[in-house]
Symmetry: C2
Subunit: 139 residues, 2 copies
Amino acid sequence: MSETRATQLENALREAGVRVTRQRAALLRIIAASEDHPDAAELHARAERAGAGVSLATVYRTLTTLQAQGVIEKLEFQDQPARWEAADQHHHDHMIDVETGAVVEFTSDRIERLQAEIAAEMGYEIVHHRLELYVRRAR
Amino acid sequence: MSETRATQLENALREAGVRVTRQRAALLRIIAASEDHPDAAELHARAERAGAGVSLATVYRTLTTLQAQGVIEKLEFQDQPARWEAADQHHHDHMIDVETGAVVEFTSDRIERLQAEIAAEMGYEIVHHRLELYVRRAR
DNA sequence: TTGCGTGCAAATTTTTTGCAAGCAC
DNA sequence: GTGCTTGCAAAAAATTTGCACGCAA
């Protein structure tokens, strides 16, 4: 029983009571296959190219739905339209090269721990967080 | 020679070749006096209340100008219009209570150091960063 | 006096929504 | 068959911009 990731997700969605329409299946596959972090317009274009007719309004609605299901995550980099990525196994943060726009993913358990500590000290618990490093190649 | 913070800033702006108009002076004072993190519409409203006629377009243009001068900073919290704060002496990050919307400022040298380390490891240097903790009161 | 800054209204950009028709289950 | 989804076009929300006039230096 080897299923593609996208197929697994479709089943999970159905179980959660979310209808798997042609449009949702198409976007799910496109996002799962994306190595980068496309925005709504780009996903719309990719769906178009893939021969899947999906209106831009549906792209937006689907992204909201998939996010609510925890299947994808929304990224909001500085002064840019929102971008999206598959909610992968492991959480990670992003480093954005301000010169090229390249996005690199990274993780740091130590930073995560420190964040939790700081929140706790002030009487809070973290729901989620956002960490972005805007960087430049070191000379 | 005791000048208000706003007056100091006005002089600095003039020296940088930026004209200090009635509108800019008004916004500068309003932001310097703000304890919170108002967005453009709110600043427009406060200017109105203060009796300073400043059009919304000018609020936006002024914010861009002051940011370019390093006098104020732009905050972009999740799914919200941009907010602004005076670029104070010490850098800090933000913690947002997802239930009340309250914003708490905090700093952590250890996190800052770790960020620099991580970037360095990947051959980058940090230009600036953004760290937001979305939190909830611990029970 | 000079040209940068402002107001106003119109335009852009990104995202959301109402409504009638379509399709997943 | 039922009602959640979709497409389309219009609307909303946030921000930007063209242009003629005003004012800081």
